[in-house]
Amino acid sequence: MTVMTYAEAARLAVAEAMRADDRVWCVGEDLGRGGVFKQYAGLPEEFGPKRISDAPISEACIMGAAFGAALVGTRPIVEMRFADFALCATDELVNQIAKARFMFGGQSRAPMVIRKPMGMWRSSAAQHSQSLESWYAHIPGLVVCCPATPQDNYSMMRAAIECDDPVVYLEHKNIWMMEGEVDTSLKAEFGKAQIRRTGSDVTLVSWSHTANLCVEAAETLAGKGISAEVIDLVSLWPWDKAAVLESVNKTGRLIVAHESVAVGGFGAEVVATMAQSTTFKSPPQRLGSPRSLIAYAPNLEDKLRVTADMIAGAATKSMESVA
């Protein structure tokens, strides 16, 4: 067990994989100087410019070329810098990478990790703050990961690099510096949720940074005598429906919280799936961003943010109402 940051945890997993397998390489803009968030710091020195490769400002080609290189036997890690810029490579990801194996009848694989730092981060405004995980969960062929802790960013990155499917790997920009203990013997399993806290009154489901807020909320709730179970899905595809169902069957109450826009967010998938599978003691609730753009001014940005207080509030409300 070592204490490290969320950024360092992923970097360690990448470094270990690169040491173990020559075919693994990273490509993205400015990687040669360690990446914009220092997620690659030290790696250029260890692995050189061919394996920690700079790239022209050409998101479409970074994605497309990495895919081509995957088709001939390498295992690329693609760095998109901000999840927002990855939209410049949507055809490559969705029409090419996600579909190739199926379309070609199983002749090919695209073992790739596509890193897309996402989320709100210090007044970055509308073009540098988005969370679009629900888009990728909707696309057959893609695996989708949203780790929330240093441990999961280590163990999930290990699994992602080893996976033969293309993995959309969404790290949250706000927690690069979050510290935590990391057990480097662990490797994550896709579709296996982390029960971040057990509880019996209400189930809080989340992922990415908002899962940390759920843990905070659960602590607050405990003080009020409400026992909340916190399920961090970690991966959205596949997602751990069984764990959520088991918990909801126990608590009868469900709150799903995420930073992304509520309308059409993956929270709807979780709530709908549960509504189809079980019954509730009180109406399930979803917390997410209003369907508004992300603003620059901090007070406006805050109006779009799901907080631990709001999660605790929703849980409290769920204890009071009946379905």
Binding site: S58, G64, G68, G73, M103, Q107, V143, D165, T273
Partner: protein, 329 residues
């Protein structure tokens, strides 16, 4: 008349005739028998490029292609019967009936896929060459694409990428003068060869209907790429004798243009004439065509006889992780 190697010339004709026969057979199967399921885009009139360029490729070299990919795929060595089965969406099709004409591929012979998205294969090809370089291989990648594709962003990004990373790749623009129903020059400012020159790639402009010339030049170019590891560019001027898809009457073309091109510039006829002038008998030349037609008819017969893919294959090869069926229905 040029002095040329008759045997090679015959081999080139044979491959062109096989491609022509494949596509005529497929067109017949589509139009008359309604057996081909989706749209097919025929490369009739453009066979010389596929044949001339791929002649110098090894089996382990790579190509990527477009929506108009039958010729490239056959030329790279794919099995015609598996291809025909794919067009008919049958079991045993090279993509298991999942892709059809627009996603024809044969990774076993280095054919990394046709593509339904114009220009998308350009960055993929650059990446294949990048992968080869990283893995220390000596394979060459050839990227075939159309004149219309050169107006999309991935064209710029892909050729710049190849230039920056000094990759062993040949970009081949098949300039057939049209993009669907549009005269490409109407929607192109400047010209494609200059775009490649601006990136610093050596450019060869060539008569895309002269298989001999293409094969000779390609041999040089591909040898050079293999030796130096550096990218090059070829612009082959050719003509699409048929419509954009098999059901396109192509009425947007000037009256008589296609007829004139068929008379004057059909690469198959030109190669036949050359061989005739070199002393090959009409009978022998006819036999090449007959054999090709028979081969493709047999492929079609086999395809017709093949069953549909098993229903449950629809959930195969989606991905290893997560069940595709889960959550549905």
């Amino acid at each position: 008349m040029r002095n040329f190697d008759v045997e090679r010339g015959l081999a080139r004709l044979t491959l062109m005739e096989r491609i022509r026969a494949f596509e005529e057979t497929a067109r017949h199967a589509a139009v008359e028998e309604e057996l081909v399921l989706g749209a097919i885009h025929l490369s009739i009139g453009q066979e010389a490029v596929a044949v001339g360029v791929t002649e110098s490729l090894r089996k382990d070299d790579y190509i990527t292609s477009t929506h108009r990919g039958h010729g490239h795929t056959l030329a790279k060595g794919a099995d015609a019967t598996a291809m025909m089965k794919e067009l008919l969406g049958r079991e045993g099709g090279c993509c298991g009936g999942k892709g059809g004409s627009m996603h024809i591929a044969d990774f076993g012979v280095g054919m990394l896929g046709a593509n339904g998205v114009v220009s998308a294969n350009i960055t993929i090809a650059a990446g294949a060459a990048h992968g080869v370089k990283l893995l220390g291989g000596d394979q060459v990648t050839v990227c075939f694409f159309g004149d219309g594709a050169a107006n999309r962003g991935p064209f710029l990004e892909g050729i710049n990428w190849a230039g920056v990373f000094e990759l062993p790749i040949l970009f081949v623009c098949e300039d057939n003068q049209y993009s669907a129903s549009t005269k490409t020059s109407d929607m192109t400012s400047g010209n494609v060869a200059d775009r490649a020159r601006a990136i610093g790639l050596p450019v060869t402009e060539i008569d895309g209907n002269d298989v001999e010339e293409i094969a000779t030049k390609s041999a040089e170019i591909i040898a050079r790429i293999r030796a130096t590891g550096k990218p090059e560019f070829m612009l082959a001027k050719t003509y699409r004798l048929d419509g954009h898809t098999y059901f396109d009457p192509a009425t947007y073309r000037p009256e008589g243009e296609a007829d004139r091109m068929r008379r004057e510039s059909d690469p198959v006829s030109r190669q036949r004439e050359l061989l005739q002038e070199a002393g090959v008998s009409e009978t022998d030349l006819d036999a090449v065509r007959t054999t090709a037609t028979a081969e493709m008819q047999a492929a079609l017969d086999a395809a017709k006889a093949a069953p549909w893919p098993a229903d449950d294959t629809v959930f195969n090869d989606v991905q290893d992780v997560g069940s595709p069926a889960q959550e549905a229905f």
